[in-house]
Subunit: 243 residues, 2 copies
Protein backbone atom coordinates (compact mmCIF):
# COMPACT_ATOMS: atom_id res chain seq x y z
CA UNK A 1 0.00 0.00 0.00
CA UNK A 2 0.98 3.63 -0.24
CA UNK A 3 0.07 6.93 1.27
CA UNK A 4 0.99 10.18 -0.47
CA UNK A 5 -0.37 13.66 0.10
CA UNK A 6 0.17 16.78 -2.00
CA UNK A 7 -1.01 20.28 -1.01
CA UNK A 8 -1.36 23.29 -3.27
CA UNK A 9 -1.30 26.37 -1.07
CA UNK A 10 -1.02 30.04 -1.92
CA UNK A 11 2.50 29.94 -0.49
CA UNK A 12 3.59 26.86 -2.42
CA UNK A 13 3.42 23.11 -2.77
CA UNK A 14 4.08 20.36 -0.24
CA UNK A 15 4.59 16.72 -1.24
CA UNK A 16 4.93 13.83 1.20
CA UNK A 17 5.16 10.13 0.30
CA UNK A 18 5.86 6.93 2.18
CA UNK A 19 8.21 4.35 0.65
CA UNK A 20 6.70 0.98 1.46
CA UNK A 21 5.51 -1.47 -1.13
CA UNK A 22 4.14 -4.88 -0.42
CA UNK A 23 2.75 -7.94 -2.10
CA UNK A 24 1.07 -9.74 0.76
CA UNK A 25 2.32 -9.23 4.29
CA UNK A 26 5.62 -11.05 3.84
CA UNK A 27 6.97 -9.32 0.75
CA UNK A 28 7.79 -5.83 1.94
CA UNK A 29 10.21 -3.52 0.21
CA UNK A 30 11.23 0.13 0.16
CA UNK A 31 10.81 2.08 -3.08
CA UNK A 32 10.91 5.80 -3.60
CA UNK A 33 7.51 6.88 -4.92
CA UNK A 34 8.58 10.45 -5.61
CA UNK A 35 10.43 11.89 -8.57
CA UNK A 36 11.68 15.47 -8.83
CA UNK A 37 12.60 17.20 -12.08
CA UNK A 38 14.38 20.48 -11.43
CA UNK A 39 15.96 22.99 -13.79
CA UNK A 40 16.63 25.83 -11.33
CA UNK A 41 15.12 29.07 -12.61
CA UNK A 42 13.12 27.27 -15.27
CA UNK A 43 11.04 24.40 -13.90
CA UNK A 44 10.29 22.22 -10.92
CA UNK A 45 8.04 19.20 -11.45
CA UNK A 46 7.32 16.68 -8.69
CA UNK A 47 5.58 13.35 -9.24
CA UNK A 48 4.28 10.90 -6.65
CA UNK A 49 2.89 7.49 -7.55
CA UNK A 50 0.53 4.98 -5.96
CA UNK A 51 -0.86 1.67 -7.14
CA UNK A 52 0.69 -1.41 -8.68
CA UNK A 53 4.47 -0.86 -8.59
CA UNK A 54 5.09 -2.60 -11.93
CA UNK A 55 2.60 -0.20 -13.53
CA UNK A 56 3.92 2.97 -11.92
CA UNK A 57 7.55 2.05 -12.61
CA UNK A 58 6.52 1.31 -16.19
CA UNK A 59 5.00 4.78 -16.41
CA UNK A 60 8.09 6.43 -14.97
CA UNK A 61 10.28 4.54 -17.44
CA UNK A 62 8.03 5.52 -20.33
CA UNK A 63 8.30 9.16 -19.22
CA UNK A 64 12.07 9.01 -19.77
CA UNK A 65 11.40 8.97 -23.50
CA UNK A 66 9.63 11.46 -25.71
CA UNK A 67 5.86 11.23 -25.95
CA UNK A 68 3.84 12.80 -28.73
CA UNK A 69 1.07 15.28 -27.93
CA UNK A 70 -0.78 17.11 -30.74
CA UNK A 71 1.93 16.23 -33.24
CA UNK A 72 4.88 17.35 -31.12
CA UNK A 73 7.21 15.22 -29.03
CA UNK A 74 7.82 16.17 -25.38
CA UNK A 75 9.34 14.98 -22.16
CA UNK A 76 8.76 16.33 -18.67
CA UNK A 77 12.05 18.22 -19.11
CA UNK A 78 10.88 20.00 -22.25
CA UNK A 79 7.11 20.30 -21.99
CA UNK A 80 6.13 24.02 -21.95
CA UNK A 81 3.37 23.89 -19.31
CA UNK A 82 2.07 21.73 -16.49
CA UNK A 83 -1.20 20.93 -18.21
CA UNK A 84 0.78 19.20 -20.95
CA UNK A 85 2.97 17.58 -18.29
CA UNK A 86 -0.15 16.00 -16.77
CA UNK A 87 -1.21 14.90 -20.27
CA UNK A 88 2.21 13.29 -20.76
CA UNK A 89 1.71 11.29 -17.58
CA UNK A 90 -1.75 10.28 -18.77
CA UNK A 91 -0.35 9.26 -22.15
CA UNK A 92 2.37 7.19 -20.46
CA UNK A 93 -0.28 5.46 -18.33
CA UNK A 94 -2.26 4.65 -21.47
CA UNK A 95 0.86 3.25 -23.15
CA UNK A 96 1.46 0.94 -20.20
CA UNK A 97 -2.20 -0.04 -20.17
CA UNK A 98 -2.05 -0.87 -23.88
CA UNK A 99 1.03 -3.03 -23.29
CA UNK A 100 0.05 -4.75 -20.03
CA UNK A 101 -3.69 -4.26 -19.43
CA UNK A 102 -4.87 -7.47 -21.13
CA UNK A 103 -2.21 -9.62 -19.46
CA UNK A 104 -3.05 -8.17 -16.05
CA UNK A 105 -6.75 -8.74 -16.67
CA UNK A 106 -6.02 -12.39 -17.59
CA UNK A 107 -4.49 -12.73 -14.11
CA UNK A 108 -7.39 -10.83 -12.55
CA UNK A 109 -5.07 -8.03 -11.46
CA UNK A 110 -6.74 -4.67 -11.70
CA UNK A 111 -4.91 -1.84 -13.40
CA UNK A 112 -4.41 0.36 -10.36
CA UNK A 113 -2.34 3.51 -10.52
CA UNK A 114 -2.71 7.13 -9.59
CA UNK A 115 -0.11 9.81 -9.95
CA UNK A 116 0.10 13.30 -8.50
CA UNK A 117 2.06 15.81 -10.56
CA UNK A 118 2.67 19.38 -9.51
CA UNK A 119 5.14 22.20 -9.77
CA UNK A 120 5.79 25.30 -11.80
CA UNK A 121 7.27 26.10 -15.19
CA UNK A 122 8.65 29.57 -15.96
CA UNK A 123 5.94 31.91 -17.27
CA UNK A 124 3.16 29.84 -15.74
CA UNK A 125 1.45 29.64 -12.38
CA UNK A 126 2.08 26.80 -9.95
CA UNK A 127 -0.28 23.85 -10.51
CA UNK A 128 -1.13 20.43 -9.06
CA UNK A 129 -2.90 17.55 -10.83
CA UNK A 130 -3.98 14.04 -9.97
CA UNK A 131 -3.84 11.61 -12.89
CA UNK A 132 -6.05 8.51 -12.78
CA UNK A 133 -5.29 5.03 -14.12
CA UNK A 134 -7.31 5.81 -17.25
CA UNK A 135 -4.98 8.72 -18.01
CA UNK A 136 -7.53 11.44 -17.33
CA UNK A 137 -6.89 13.92 -14.53
CA UNK A 138 -8.20 16.60 -12.18
CA UNK A 139 -6.57 19.76 -10.85
CA UNK A 140 -6.42 21.00 -7.26
CA UNK A 141 -8.32 24.24 -6.69
CA UNK A 142 -8.73 26.76 -3.90
CA UNK A 143 -11.77 24.81 -2.69
CA UNK A 144 -9.92 21.49 -2.56
CA UNK A 145 -6.26 22.33 -2.13
CA UNK A 146 -4.96 18.80 -1.48
CA UNK A 147 -4.87 15.37 -3.08
CA UNK A 148 -4.27 12.07 -1.37
CA UNK A 149 -3.11 8.89 -3.10
CA UNK A 150 -3.45 5.34 -1.80
CA UNK A 151 -4.56 4.63 1.77
CA UNK A 152 -6.20 8.01 2.30
CA UNK A 153 -8.92 7.56 4.91
CA UNK A 154 -7.01 7.48 8.20
CA UNK A 155 -5.19 10.70 7.42
CA UNK A 156 -8.08 12.61 5.89
CA UNK A 157 -10.01 14.01 8.89
CA UNK A 158 -7.15 16.24 10.08
CA UNK A 159 -6.67 17.63 6.55
CA UNK A 160 -10.41 18.14 6.05
CA UNK A 161 -10.68 20.17 9.22
CA UNK A 162 -7.60 22.33 8.97
CA UNK A 163 -6.25 22.78 5.44
CA UNK A 164 -7.23 25.80 3.38
CA UNK A 165 -5.40 27.47 0.52
CA UNK A 166 -4.04 29.97 3.04
CA UNK A 167 -2.43 27.33 5.24
CA UNK A 168 1.28 28.17 5.35
CA UNK A 169 3.94 25.77 4.11
CA UNK A 170 5.27 25.37 7.65
CA UNK A 171 1.79 24.44 8.89
CA UNK A 172 1.25 22.15 5.92
CA UNK A 173 4.46 20.23 6.67
CA UNK A 174 3.19 19.53 10.17
CA UNK A 175 -0.29 18.61 8.89
CA UNK A 176 1.08 16.28 6.23
CA UNK A 177 3.28 14.57 8.83
CA UNK A 178 0.34 14.21 11.25
CA UNK A 179 -1.82 12.83 8.46
CA UNK A 180 0.97 10.39 7.52
CA UNK A 181 1.52 9.38 11.14
CA UNK A 182 -2.18 8.50 11.55
CA UNK A 183 -1.88 6.31 8.46
CA UNK A 184 1.40 4.69 9.55
CA UNK A 185 -0.20 3.71 12.86
CA UNK A 186 -3.29 2.18 11.30
CA UNK A 187 -1.94 0.47 8.16
CA UNK A 188 1.20 -1.63 8.42
CA UNK A 189 1.63 -1.59 4.65
CA UNK A 190 2.42 2.14 4.76
CA UNK A 191 5.93 2.63 6.08
CA UNK A 192 8.95 4.80 6.79
CA UNK A 193 11.12 6.41 5.56
CA UNK A 194 9.19 9.33 4.09
CA UNK A 195 10.10 11.62 1.21
CA UNK A 196 9.23 15.29 1.64
CA UNK A 197 9.54 18.03 -0.96
CA UNK A 198 8.62 21.69 -0.55
CA UNK A 199 8.23 24.17 -3.39
CA UNK A 200 7.72 27.89 -2.74
CA UNK A 201 5.62 29.76 -5.30
CA UNK A 202 7.64 31.47 -8.07
CA UNK A 203 11.03 30.28 -6.78
CA UNK A 204 11.50 27.79 -9.66
CA UNK A 205 13.77 25.65 -7.52
CA UNK A 206 13.11 23.04 -4.86
CA UNK A 207 12.75 24.69 -1.45
CA UNK A 208 13.45 21.61 0.64
CA UNK A 209 13.95 17.95 -0.10
CA UNK A 210 14.33 15.59 2.78
CA UNK A 211 14.18 11.90 3.55
CA UNK A 212 12.62 11.41 6.97
CA UNK A 213 13.23 8.27 8.97
CA UNK A 214 12.05 7.15 12.40
CA UNK A 215 15.04 8.78 14.08
CA UNK A 216 14.42 12.18 12.48
CA UNK A 217 14.19 14.55 15.48
CA UNK A 218 11.62 16.86 13.84
CA UNK A 219 9.28 14.02 12.93
CA UNK A 220 9.80 12.29 16.27
CA UNK A 221 8.86 15.44 18.15
CA UNK A 222 5.65 15.77 16.12
CA UNK A 223 4.70 12.11 16.59
CA UNK A 224 5.32 12.19 20.31
CA UNK A 225 3.61 15.52 20.94
CA UNK A 226 0.59 14.91 18.72
CA UNK A 227 -0.77 12.07 20.84
CA UNK A 228 -0.73 14.15 24.01
CA UNK A 229 -1.98 17.25 22.17
CA UNK A 230 -4.96 15.21 20.89
CA UNK A 231 -5.70 13.87 24.36
CA UNK A 232 -5.59 17.40 25.78
CA UNK A 233 -7.83 18.61 22.96
CA UNK A 234 -10.50 16.01 23.60
CA UNK A 235 -10.34 16.55 27.35
CA UNK A 236 -11.06 20.24 26.77
CA UNK A 237 -14.37 19.40 25.06
CA UNK A 238 -17.58 20.03 26.99
CA UNK A 239 -19.26 16.93 28.44
CA UNK A 240 -22.80 16.55 27.05
CA UNK A 241 -25.34 17.06 29.80
CA UNK A 242 -27.86 14.32 29.08
CA UNK A 243 -28.48 13.07 32.58
CA UNK B 1 -22.85 2.53 4.54
CA UNK B 2 -22.74 2.42 8.30
CA UNK B 3 -20.49 3.41 11.13
CA UNK B 4 -20.88 1.86 14.57
CA UNK B 5 -18.45 1.83 17.47
CA UNK B 6 -18.64 -0.19 20.68
CA UNK B 7 -16.23 0.23 23.61
CA UNK B 8 -15.72 -2.19 26.49
CA UNK B 9 -14.19 -0.22 29.34
CA UNK B 10 -13.60 -1.14 32.97
CA UNK B 11 -16.40 1.27 33.85
CA UNK B 12 -18.89 -0.09 31.34
CA UNK B 13 -19.94 -0.30 27.71
CA UNK B 14 -20.61 2.48 25.18
CA UNK B 15 -22.44 1.85 21.91
CA UNK B 16 -22.89 4.43 19.16
CA UNK B 17 -24.45 3.84 15.74
CA UNK B 18 -25.46 6.01 12.82
CA UNK B 19 -28.83 5.37 11.12
CA UNK B 20 -28.22 5.86 7.42
CA UNK B 21 -28.64 3.17 4.84
CA UNK B 22 -28.20 3.61 1.15
CA UNK B 23 -28.35 1.76 -2.13
CA UNK B 24 -26.49 4.08 -4.45
CA UNK B 25 -26.41 7.78 -3.74
CA UNK B 26 -30.08 8.42 -4.48
CA UNK B 27 -31.72 5.80 -2.29
CA UNK B 28 -31.07 7.00 1.22
CA UNK B 29 -33.10 5.95 4.22
CA UNK B 30 -32.96 6.03 8.01
CA UNK B 31 -32.97 2.72 9.86
CA UNK B 32 -32.11 2.04 13.47
CA UNK B 33 -29.10 -0.28 13.56
CA UNK B 34 -29.24 -0.81 17.30
CA UNK B 35 -31.37 -3.18 19.36
CA UNK B 36 -31.51 -3.22 23.14
CA UNK B 37 -32.80 -6.15 25.20
CA UNK B 38 -33.24 -5.16 28.82
CA UNK B 39 -34.64 -7.07 31.79
CA UNK B 40 -33.67 -4.68 34.59
CA UNK B 41 -31.73 -6.51 37.30
CA UNK B 42 -31.24 -9.57 35.10
CA UNK B 43 -29.78 -8.72 31.68
CA UNK B 44 -28.85 -5.99 29.26
CA UNK B 45 -27.87 -7.00 25.71
CA UNK B 46 -27.14 -4.44 22.99
CA UNK B 47 -26.72 -5.32 19.32
CA UNK B 48 -25.49 -3.10 16.49
CA UNK B 49 -25.51 -4.19 12.86
CA UNK B 50 -23.63 -3.24 9.71
CA UNK B 51 -23.72 -4.60 6.17
CA UNK B 52 -26.50 -5.47 3.77
CA UNK B 53 -29.74 -4.29 5.42
CA UNK B 54 -31.80 -7.20 4.09
CA UNK B 55 -29.32 -9.59 5.70
CA UNK B 56 -29.09 -7.82 9.04
CA UNK B 57 -32.85 -7.36 9.28
CA UNK B 58 -33.20 -11.05 8.41
CA UNK B 59 -30.86 -11.88 11.27
CA UNK B 60 -32.75 -9.68 13.72
CA UNK B 61 -36.04 -11.30 12.67
CA UNK B 62 -34.55 -14.77 13.05
CA UNK B 63 -33.40 -13.82 16.54
CA UNK B 64 -37.04 -13.20 17.56
CA UNK B 65 -37.54 -16.96 17.46
CA UNK B 66 -35.87 -19.74 19.40
CA UNK B 67 -32.56 -21.06 18.07
CA UNK B 68 -31.09 -24.41 19.09
CA UNK B 69 -27.59 -24.58 20.60
CA UNK B 70 -26.22 -27.89 21.92
CA UNK B 71 -29.68 -29.45 22.00
CA UNK B 72 -31.42 -26.60 23.85
CA UNK B 73 -33.54 -23.81 22.41
CA UNK B 74 -32.71 -20.21 23.35
CA UNK B 75 -33.50 -16.62 22.54
CA UNK B 76 -31.53 -13.53 23.51
CA UNK B 77 -34.08 -13.06 26.31
CA UNK B 78 -33.44 -16.52 27.79
CA UNK B 79 -29.84 -17.39 26.94
CA UNK B 80 -27.82 -17.84 30.18
CA UNK B 81 -24.58 -16.13 29.15
CA UNK B 82 -23.20 -13.71 26.56
CA UNK B 83 -20.98 -16.28 24.91
CA UNK B 84 -24.11 -18.23 23.96
CA UNK B 85 -25.79 -14.94 22.96
CA UNK B 86 -22.97 -14.35 20.45
CA UNK B 87 -23.36 -17.93 19.24
CA UNK B 88 -27.10 -17.31 18.74
CA UNK B 89 -26.30 -14.30 16.55
CA UNK B 90 -23.81 -16.41 14.59
CA UNK B 91 -26.39 -19.17 14.19
CA UNK B 92 -28.97 -16.64 12.96
CA UNK B 93 -26.44 -15.32 10.43
CA UNK B 94 -25.83 -18.86 9.18
CA UNK B 95 -29.57 -19.48 8.86
CA UNK B 96 -29.92 -16.34 6.72
CA UNK B 97 -26.88 -17.36 4.69
CA UNK B 98 -28.37 -20.82 4.10
CA UNK B 99 -31.62 -19.21 2.92
CA UNK B 100 -30.28 -16.29 0.87
CA UNK B 101 -26.57 -16.85 0.17
CA UNK B 102 -26.96 -18.67 -3.15
CA UNK B 103 -29.52 -16.17 -4.49
CA UNK B 104 -27.31 -13.24 -3.50
CA UNK B 105 -24.30 -14.90 -5.12
CA UNK B 106 -26.32 -15.37 -8.33
CA UNK B 107 -26.79 -11.59 -8.35
CA UNK B 108 -23.12 -11.05 -7.46
CA UNK B 109 -24.07 -9.46 -4.16
CA UNK B 110 -21.63 -10.37 -1.44
CA UNK B 111 -22.95 -11.61 1.89
CA UNK B 112 -21.85 -8.66 4.02
CA UNK B 113 -22.83 -8.37 7.63
CA UNK B 114 -21.14 -7.78 10.94
CA UNK B 115 -22.82 -7.49 14.29
CA UNK B 116 -21.54 -6.22 17.62
CA UNK B 117 -23.18 -7.74 20.67
CA UNK B 118 -22.37 -6.75 24.21
CA UNK B 119 -23.86 -6.41 27.65
CA UNK B 120 -24.12 -8.31 30.88
CA UNK B 121 -26.24 -11.16 32.24
CA UNK B 122 -26.68 -11.66 35.97
CA UNK B 123 -23.93 -13.84 37.46
CA UNK B 124 -21.56 -13.10 34.60
CA UNK B 125 -19.06 -10.39 33.75
CA UNK B 126 -19.76 -7.72 31.13
CA UNK B 127 -18.67 -8.83 27.63
CA UNK B 128 -18.49 -7.50 24.08
CA UNK B 129 -18.25 -9.55 20.87
CA UNK B 130 -18.08 -8.87 17.16
CA UNK B 131 -19.77 -11.48 15.00
CA UNK B 132 -18.65 -11.88 11.38
CA UNK B 133 -20.76 -12.76 8.36
CA UNK B 134 -19.62 -16.38 8.63
CA UNK B 135 -21.12 -16.57 12.12
CA UNK B 136 -17.79 -16.81 13.93
CA UNK B 137 -16.81 -14.08 16.37
CA UNK B 138 -14.13 -12.37 18.44
CA UNK B 139 -14.27 -10.78 21.88
CA UNK B 140 -12.97 -7.37 22.97
CA UNK B 141 -10.12 -7.57 25.47
CA UNK B 142 -8.17 -5.14 27.63
CA UNK B 143 -5.63 -4.78 24.81
CA UNK B 144 -8.24 -3.94 22.18
CA UNK B 145 -11.19 -2.50 24.05
CA UNK B 146 -13.24 -1.32 21.07
CA UNK B 147 -14.81 -2.64 17.88
CA UNK B 148 -15.82 -0.66 14.83
CA UNK B 149 -18.32 -1.79 12.22
CA UNK B 150 -18.68 -0.48 8.68
CA UNK B 151 -16.82 2.65 7.54
CA UNK B 152 -14.18 2.48 10.25
CA UNK B 153 -11.06 4.18 8.90
CA UNK B 154 -11.83 7.89 9.26
CA UNK B 155 -12.77 7.52 12.90
CA UNK B 156 -10.04 5.10 13.94
CA UNK B 157 -6.99 7.33 14.58
CA UNK B 158 -8.57 9.19 17.51
CA UNK B 159 -9.64 5.90 19.11
CA UNK B 160 -6.23 4.29 18.51
CA UNK B 161 -4.46 7.13 20.24
CA UNK B 162 -6.69 7.70 23.21
CA UNK B 163 -8.82 4.70 24.18
CA UNK B 164 -7.66 2.29 26.86
CA UNK B 165 -9.67 0.00 29.10
CA UNK B 166 -9.41 2.68 31.80
CA UNK B 167 -11.01 5.40 29.67
CA UNK B 168 -14.10 6.57 31.57
CA UNK B 169 -17.59 6.29 30.14
CA UNK B 170 -17.86 10.08 30.00
CA UNK B 171 -14.61 10.29 28.03
CA UNK B 172 -15.68 7.41 25.81
CA UNK B 173 -18.95 9.17 24.92
CA UNK B 174 -16.96 12.17 23.70
CA UNK B 175 -14.45 9.97 21.85
CA UNK B 176 -17.18 7.96 20.15
CA UNK B 177 -18.90 11.19 19.06
CA UNK B 178 -15.62 12.65 17.74
CA UNK B 179 -14.89 9.41 15.89
CA UNK B 180 -18.42 9.47 14.45
CA UNK B 181 -18.14 13.14 13.51
CA UNK B 182 -14.93 12.49 11.53
CA UNK B 183 -16.77 9.73 9.67
CA UNK B 184 -19.90 11.82 9.05
CA UNK B 185 -17.75 14.56 7.51
CA UNK B 186 -15.88 12.23 5.18
CA UNK B 187 -18.53 9.73 4.09
CA UNK B 188 -21.93 11.01 3.02
CA UNK B 189 -23.42 7.54 3.32
CA UNK B 190 -23.00 7.68 7.11
CA UNK B 191 -25.65 9.95 8.57
CA UNK B 192 -27.53 11.41 11.51
CA UNK B 193 -29.39 10.81 13.74
CA UNK B 194 -27.22 8.68 16.02
CA UNK B 195 -28.22 6.09 18.60
CA UNK B 196 -26.22 6.05 21.82
CA UNK B 197 -26.47 3.52 24.63
CA UNK B 198 -24.42 3.45 27.82
CA UNK B 199 -24.18 0.50 30.17
CA UNK B 200 -22.42 0.77 33.55
CA UNK B 201 -20.73 -2.39 34.82
CA UNK B 202 -22.88 -4.53 37.14
CA UNK B 203 -25.92 -2.22 36.97
CA UNK B 204 -27.93 -4.72 34.86
CA UNK B 205 -30.00 -1.89 33.42
CA UNK B 206 -29.37 0.60 30.63
CA UNK B 207 -27.54 3.66 31.95
CA UNK B 208 -28.48 6.02 29.14
CA UNK B 209 -30.23 5.64 25.82
CA UNK B 210 -30.43 8.64 23.58
CA UNK B 211 -31.16 9.50 19.98
CA UNK B 212 -28.87 12.34 18.91
CA UNK B 213 -29.75 14.60 16.01
CA UNK B 214 -27.99 17.58 14.46
CA UNK B 215 -29.72 19.98 16.84
CA UNK B 216 -28.62 18.09 19.96
CA UNK B 217 -26.83 20.75 22.03
CA UNK B 218 -24.29 18.32 23.54
CA UNK B 219 -23.29 16.90 20.17
CA UNK B 220 -23.27 20.33 18.53
CA UNK B 221 -20.93 21.68 21.18
CA UNK B 222 -18.53 18.78 20.63
CA UNK B 223 -18.59 19.13 16.83
CA UNK B 224 -18.02 22.86 16.95
CA UNK B 225 -15.31 22.79 19.58
CA UNK B 226 -13.42 19.79 18.21
CA UNK B 227 -12.39 21.55 15.00
CA UNK B 228 -10.87 24.49 16.87
CA UNK B 229 -9.35 22.21 19.53
CA UNK B 230 -7.64 20.21 16.75
CA UNK B 231 -6.33 23.38 15.13
CA UNK B 232 -4.97 24.58 18.45
CA UNK B 233 -3.41 21.16 19.06
CA UNK B 234 -1.57 21.13 15.75
CA UNK B 235 -0.42 24.73 16.18
CA UNK B 236 1.14 23.76 19.50
CA UNK B 237 3.39 21.20 17.78
CA UNK B 238 7.06 22.07 17.34
CA UNK B 239 8.10 23.11 13.82
CA UNK B 240 10.79 20.75 12.46
CA UNK B 241 14.08 22.60 12.09
CA UNK B 242 15.33 21.29 8.74
CA UNK B 243 16.60 24.52 7.24
Amino acid sequence: MTYCVALRLTEGLVFLADTRTNAGVDRIATFCKMKVIEHPGERVIVLMTAGNLAITQGVMNRLQEEIELDGEAWTLRTVPDLYRAARLVGAALRTVYAADGAALAAHEISFEASIAIGGQIQGERMRLFQVYAAGNFIEATDDTPFFQLGEHKYGKPILDRVVTKDTTIDEAIKLALISMDSTLRSNLSVGLPLDLVIYRNDELQVGLRRRIDSDDPGFRAIRERWGSALRDAFKSLPQPDWK
